[in-house]
Each structure stands twice: as C-alpha cells, then as structure tokens.
Amino acid sequence: MIDQKPFATTVLGIEASCDETAASVVSLDANGVPAIRSNAVLSQIADHAAFGGVVPEIAARAHVEALDGIIGTAMREAGATRDGIDAIAVTAGPGLIGGLIAGLMTAKALAAAWGKPLIPVSHLEGHALTARLTGQAEFPFLLLLVSGGHTQIVRVAGVGDYQRWGTTIDDALGEAFDKTAKLLGLPYPGGPEVEKAAATGDASRFALPRPLRGEARPDFSFSGLKTAVRQAATAIAPLSGQDVADICASFQRAICETLADRVARSLGRFRTEYPGVDEPVLVVAGGVAANRAVRATLESLCADQGFRFAAPPMALCTDNAAMIAWAGLERLRAGLTDETAMDVAPRSRWPLDEGSAPVFGAGKRGAKA
C-alpha cells in the first residue's frame, strides 16, 4: 500500500506504567502544527476497585492482554498504517515494573518488525511536554505534576532539559486523597469522591496542619496531614455523613492552602531566574489537576503572581499515550534517539532530572522521586 504521508512526522505512543493501557498516534504536519490523531485509553479502575488501590500483579496481567488490542484501535482510529509511522515511543519508566515490561516488549516487537526507531520515554517527560502538544506553553516554563504517584515542580527549559525544583518528601498528593477516602470508607479512586463530599462540608470544622508552611525549601509533604486527618476522624468515629463531608472539606482546604504556599516558592524563583520572560507559565498535569478546588487555588495564585495558568484538557492530564507519542516525536526531531533502545530495560524509578539529589526513598534502584 502506498501511504500518502500528509504529515511530516508521525509517532505511535504506548503507555502501560500504571493502571491505564493506552496507545495514541500523534503527528506534526509540514507547518509544525501537532495533531492527536487517536488517543485510546483502557482503564483498569474496575479491576482494582475491590482492593482499594492499584495491585501491581493485577495491572501487569491486564496490560499484557490489552496492549495489542488498544494499539490496533489507536492505529485504526488514526487511519494510520505501518508505512505512515516514523517511530514508536513507549513509556520505559517510572512506574509499576510489570506494566512497563509489557508495554516496552510490545513496543520493541512493533519497532523491530516494522523496522522503525524505538524511543523509550519517561512518563514524567510525557507530562512535562504535553503543554507544547496543546500549544499552551513555550520553553521555559514551570510544570506542577500532581498525581497519585508524583508531586513535583519542574523547570522545563527544553526537550531533555529539566530541573526538579521541588518534590514531595513523603506521600504524593493523589495518594493523600486516596488514603483519606479509604479511611472514610469512600470508594476507589478516592480523589473525586473526596471532592464530592467536600462540596457539602464545613472546611473550618477541623484544624488540620499545613505541612512545611512558610519554609524556604520549595518541597511538599503530605504524610503529617494524612496522620492528622486520621486522628481527627478516629476521635469522632463512628462518622456521620456530615462528619465525612466536613473532614473532606477541611482536608481539601488544607491541601489547597499548602499547595499555594509551596508553589509560590517556585514561582518566585522562576521570576528571579528568568526576568526576561514576560508572561511566565505554570503548567499543571496529573490526575489531581481535575480537582476544581485545587485548580481554582492555582489559578488565583498565578493571577496574583503574574503567571499564566495552563491546564491541558483532562484527557491529557491523566495517564495517556498521546503525551508519550508527543515526547517521542519531540525527541525524534531533536535527534535525541538511542541506538541501543532495543536492549533497554524498564526503570521502575527514573527521576526526570537525573542530576537532582534524591529527597527520600533512594535505594539500589535509584532515587524514588
């Protein structure tokens, strides 16, 4: 078949690092305009709901049997053929090792059989570069990544040029939401449930801590807040529906005030380091970006500090393969490809900024965050 090849560059992206199996075809046309030609995502939420969180072995098993189907769907929906694909990008880390292996091996097989370059991509780099796919930010900008697995603020200055300015020293923000939900008996995934309950709650009823407030270091901490929520809730158990709503509202307010305080540090640093940038941008990514209270907090913080707030559409904020295809496409065009990609091993731990010192959880597998 002769492919018309109307696009300058087209990359197939594959993502299986947590509990979504995803594939996407992303192109850049001759004028440099990106297009998401397909974005197929298969969520495993139902498989894990009974366990109150993602079970790695269940996730790995589901990925192996879903990947080929979801890739076929993404190719069909994009109207793409093997001849129209320039490279295959895949999440090679960080994440759950079983899913990473399944995604990486599927991608290696496709790349080998089709004779295309394989581009292993960091899941975090996918999040970092999404705002360029959506045309919402130019280098340099600040990225706030808030998900179930990550909470970090990163200075993004170019493809492959990332500097982590702040990170959580214990739990991820999404994890704090999920654990609060679990404690209160709310269903999984807990983030949206906490937000729903908070809507009818009294945010001033419980005095919860604002971890690290006022400290100069730009990091995050949520473990103490989680403990405080547990103590406050345990003290008044059994809980009424209103108790649950009040705890959620108080928790969410503590989160928002903490975020505003912590993120402000990095906004100030960005202003100092990039005085020539007229309209600096804060990009938010990750599942917690769906929380309306968090979003409103960041919007008003940005307005106060003269930053533009950019949130990619939700489908591109949560785990997806369009961001992986796009990161691969950016790497391909920047010449940042790896000749030895067929031999790479997946990395459960893979800091975006390899030069940054591990804040916690550094073991033989490397820095956790």
Partner: protein, 240 residues
C-alpha cells in the same frame, strides 16, 4: 527482486518460536512443514529477558537468513513459569503478531517438557511437574500417546505425588521431588529443566492448527492481592 526469488519468498513457510518463561531466553526459526530448524539461539540467562530477547531473535534470524517480512507463523511459551518472564515473551509475541498480522500459538512449558519426556521414554505415560515454590508444584499428566489427562494446575506436593503411578516418566524441575514423595516403582525421568528446548516448542506449534486466538499467559495462580478491609472507620447508621 528476480521473479524466482519472489516466488520462493511467497511460498516458504517460516515459524518463529520464542521462550522466556524460565531461565532460558530462546528463539528458533523452523520450516513448519518439514520441521527443519533454520536458525536458533538459546541463552541461559536466568534474568534480564526484557533486555536480551530482541537481540536473541535478531541473532536467530541472521542464522536462518530470514527477516521479519519472511515470517509466516509465530509461537511463544506461555508458562507456567516466571510471571515476569512469561509476560516478556507473550507481550513480544503479541506485538509481533499485531505488527506482521500473523497467527501466534501459545505452547505451555508443561506440554513441551512432556513431549521431550515421551521421546526419551516411549510407551510411558508422563507427569510434567515444575517447582512452584510455597510447597506447590505446577503439574499436568499425559497419556503415553501425549493426550493430556487433566488440565494444568498448581497443587500441593502431596496431592501431585498421588498422581504418580508405577512405570511413569516424570519431567520438569519437580520430577525428583515427586518421585521421592510418591515412592512409586519403575519411574523414568525425562528432562528436568524449567522449560523445554526451543525447537520442541516450535515443533509443537507447527503441529497445531492455525487459529486467530491470541496467546495468553498461563499463570496457574491468582494474583497476590487481598481486598483491603478493616481500614475504614465505622459509619453511623443513618436514615436517608
């Protein structure tokens, strides 16, 4: 391409089999009609299959002088074995099947080991048994003609030992364990590895009718996960 060569590539059948279910990282190319092995590579690596598999396949293809475009059928060992190893192989095989639009057969390590045991011990029925740790074995019995007598299963060693009878051939990593536990007489022993030779897996696949079914891992054990209970605080009984 000269016309004769084009004809040749059209009608040559080539099967690629891969195995990463246990210690080996292996690939083999055969002519599924004649059974001839065209090229093979088998590395005893224990770990690191994800890094080495594509290189193992490429090397076997160089030996066979076959490219991906020359493949007509695929096969993969689906376990039981290492969960991670099985996934490496099955994910790669399904990726190749998708990329090349080829059928792919799933072959179990138990049937492949039993096939080798029967070849070594004609006329004997076979019990294939792999050490599954935690006091269990993965086990499957076969008649002397190769017909499976039960589905593969994970069983306690004592239960599996009751399947052993006089005159049987035992194979797999748990062969010695079950021979001793059973106390049965006149037992023959087949290959005692964790997986079979890659050419055996290819031969089994070649003999299987081509189907559109995609290979699935054979874990024989549920995922290690328990529903979380007792974590949530009690709620007041409320009338709505």
């Amino acid at each position: 391409m000269p016309r004769a060569a084009l004809w040749a590539t059209r009608f040559l059948m080539t099967l690629l089999a891969i195995d990463t279910a246990a210690n080996l990282c292996a690939a083999c190319l055969t002519d599924p009609v004649s059974g001839a092995v065209l090229g093979r590579v088998s590395r005893d690596i224990g770990k690191g299959h994800a890094e080495q598999l594509m290189d193992v396949i490429a090397e076997a293809m160089r030996h066979a002088r076959v490219g991906y475009a020359g493949l007509t059928r695929l096969a993969v060992s689906v376990g039981p074995g290492s969960f991670t190893g099985i996934r490496v192989g099955v994910a790669a095989a399904r990726g190749l099947a998708l990329a090349l639009d080829l059928p792919c057969a799933g072959i179990t390590t138990l049937e492949a080991l039993a096939t080798e045991a029967r070849a070594l011990n004609p006329g004997r029925s076979v019990l294939a048994a792999l050490d599954a740790r935690r006091g269990e074995v993965y086990v499957q019995p076969f008649a002397a003609d190769g017909t499976p007598l039960a589905d593969p299963a994970a069983e306690a060693v004592a239960d599996a030992a009751r399947r052993v009878s006089t005159g049987m051939a035992l194979c797999g990593t748990a062969a010695a364990l079950l021979a001793e536990a059973s106390g049965a007489a006149d037992l023959a022993r087949g290959p005692e590895g964790a997986t079979a030779d890659i050419a055996t897996i290819a031969a089994l696949a070649a003999a299987r009718p081509v189907s559109g079914e995609r290979p699935k891992p054979l874990y024989l054990r549920a995922a290690d996960a328990r529903p979380q209970e007792g974590f949530a605080l009690p709620r007041k009984a409320e009338s709505a």
